[in-house]
């Protein structure tokens, strides 16, 4: 069993993993590739030359559809959902650290909306708004619909975070004279900050690409996923692919920036503790 060469199991799993990656990025690379379609090219292969035409067209007024507006709406909605998700999940996570009356039923009630099909929630909220007589809109009914998705996720993450949180840090802070607020501000918050950033990114992406829960709740103006969907039936040019490429690129940019920031912070911390170059043995 201690042979130096890898067994067949390794190669089998490696092949499986390669297939998985292909499956994941194959369609994406097709779209990226087709977005560089030549001026006279169509929606499918073969490539008819190579150009940036469709990226230029992206920023012109479309015959049908409104990229700019829907992108701005999706972005604003994503940021709103992100902010509320972080705040409420954090507070709820703190609350659930102690057992309180009816905490268990409340917990199940909160996460139940993860199980209910998204489209039903969307339909329900849309109907409710109609019954009450408020016009549904992306910033009201769709905002609420997105929160039914992101809040339970955020809560679950915070529960996991606080489950692992060592209460000795808080006791130590108390022992050193910190008030409850100081304990939270100077000890708890910095320690859970990476998880909070995770919740924020999670909340944003869940909202940004949410389709089913927006469908019946967006009202007059579409969010980006709805707009793209509408356009797949109307738009017959690779402008659609250009849009896909730009939004994917934007997502990668955000992710890599976040990773880079984390890496730089870690490096800076590590450098403080290194003996390198100080001439000590």
């Amino acid at each position: 069993m201690l042979s130096e060469t890898r067994g067949w199991g390794f190669w089998l799993l490696a092949a499986f993993f390669v297939l998985f990656v292909l499956f994941l990025y194959g369609p994406l690379s097709t779209i990226v590739l087709l977005s560089f379609q030549g001026e006279n090219g169509g929606l499918t292969f073969p490539m008819n030359g190579f150009s940036f035409t469709w990226f230029g067209r992206l920023f012109e007024t479309q015959a049908v559809g409104d990229f700019g507006g829907s992108f701005r709406r999706s972005l604003s909605l994503g940021v709103m959902v992100m902010a509320v998700t972080v705040l409420v999940s954090l507070l709820a996570g703190l609350a659930f650290r102690r057992r309180f009356r009816a905490s268990t039923p409340l917990f199940y009630l909160a996460v139940a909306s993860l199980i209910v099909p998204s489209i039903l929630i969307s339909l329900g909220i849309g109907l409710l708004f109609q019954v009450i007589g408020i016009r549904p809109a992306w910033y009201s009914s769709a905002f609420g619909a997105h929160l039914t998705w992101t809040l339970p996720f955020g809560l679950l993450i915070m529960l996991a975070v606080f489950n692992r949180f060592n209460t000795a840090y808080e006791e130590a802070a108390r022992d050193l004279g910190a008030s409850p607020w100081q304990t939270f501000r100077f000890v708890v918050l910095p320690l859970i900050l990476p998880s909070l950033i995770g919740v924020a990114l999670f909340g944003f992406t869940l909202s940004y690409d949410e389709f089913a829960r927006t469908m019946m709740t967006a009202g007059t103006f579409n969010t980006l996923p709805l707009e793209i969907y509408a356009m797949t039936t109307n738009v017959t040019t690779p402008v659609l692919y250009a849009l896909g490429t730009v939004t994917t690129g934007l997502s990668f940019l955000v992710i890599f920036t976040a990773l880079a920031v984390v890496l730089v912070l870690q490096r800076r911390r590590a450098r403080l503790g290194s003996d390198a170059g100080k001439g000590t043995l």
Binding site: N166, A168, Y169, E171, A172, A173, R174, D175, L176, G177, A178, S179, Q182, F186, V187, P190, L191, R269, A270, L272, G273, T280
Partner: protein, 329 residues
């Protein structure tokens, strides 16, 4: 430095729902004492320490530090400081900021608190590590930072919750010598919770042995080892044989038991050797007497090898009449 203060526990009780964790214990610890709370897990020693620290409410009784009852005071206003098990150093703060934390909470400005922190770090010999994060320190170094962080609050009494349990055996012995040195130099009381009798013996001026929420015996290490108050204490402290003599249960120290050939000791007990364990300066011989009582003899190596025995040998054990200790209870 704060003036060292006496600590008194008066019928202190801790109940969790229906169970009693600490059962009306009373204890006086004079200023400047190194006190070890010793006992098996679940004996109430940690609860006692946490009540003194203020991290656990007192169900009944009083905790008096100096000349005031501190039952209802928050931890930081008691004049005590606590060093936590595995230290609980804040992982996101540098060593200096960890030590300066309590000063920052009081709103003391940065230059002043950094100066105080650096003084404390100098005291524990950690000056070169001020910029580091706790994760970049060894266990022994973390322990010193935790000590500095507790001492910067100028406590009248320092509470240590199993401070050596996170260290490897070699480091344990070195760090415990350091703790003793700090305690002597500072002149304040240290109350140190441990389940290791060896640690307690090595460090303490006052050993408090606890079991089931009660104090079994409190006294100097030597008094406890030579005159254990109960069978429990004798068993827990180790190095004692517990055996029935004339209908009473008594103890005889293992190092006072001698092995003699059966024919030479008409008054000795006959026993069979069950095990021998060479420990360098001593050999520990396990025996079982004719009546089934298990015995241990700790024999100096010179004596043992003058007349060695092996497993299965028949021999006899004797001791001086004066070495038989009757329990007080």
């Amino acid at each position: 430095m704060a003036r060292p203060a006496d600590l008194e526990l008066a019928s202190v009780t801790k109940r969790y729902g229906g169970t009693v964790a600490v059962d009306s214990i009373s204890l006086k610890i004079k200023a400047g004492t190194y006190c070890c709370l010793l006992g098996p897990s679940g004996c109430g020693k940690s609860s006692t320490l946490r009540m003194i620290a203020g991290h656990e409410s007192v169900s009944d009784g009083d905790i008096v530090l100096g000349n005031q009852i501190v039952n209802d005071k928050p931890p930081a206003q008691r004049g005590s400081a606590m060093m936590f098990q595995s230290y609980a150093l804040f992982p996101h703060l540098s060593v200096r900021d960890n030590v300066a934390f309590s000063l920052r909470m009081k709103g003391i400005d940065k230059p002043t608190r950094h100066k105080r922190a650096d003084e404390m770090l100098a005291l524990v010999d950690m000056t070169p590590y001020a910029e580091r994060l706790p994760a970049q320190l060894s266990g022994g170094q973390q322990q010193r930072v935790a000590l500095a962080r507790a001492l910067v609050t100028d406590p009248q009494i320092l509470l240590l919750d199993e401070p050596l349990s996170a260290l490897d055996p070699f480091l344990k012995i070195r760090v415990r010598a350091e703790l003793k040195r700090f305690q002597r130099e500072l002149g304040i009381s240290f109350i140190h919770v441990t389940h290791s009798q060896e640690e307690a013996m090595a460090l303490a001026d006052l050993v408090v042995i606890m079991s089931h929420g009660r104090i079994e015996q409190a006294g100097a290490p030597r008094a406890i080892f030579e005159t254990p108050a109960s069978e429990f204490v004798a068993r827990f402290i180790g190095g004692h044989n517990i055996l029935p003599i004339f209908g009473k249960t008594v103890s005889v120290r293992a190092d006072r038991v001698s092995l003699v050939p059966q024919d030479d000791a008409p008054g000795g007990r006959r026993a069979i050797v069950r095990s021998t364990e060479y420990q360098g300066s001593n050999v520990v011989v396990g025996l079982v007497a004719e009546d089934g009582t298990e015995l241990v003899a700790i024999v100096p190596d010179k004596v043992f090898f003058a007349r060695p025995v092996e497993v299965g040998d028949a021999t006899a054990v004797t001791w001086d009449e004066a070495d038989i200790h009757e329990f007080a209870a």
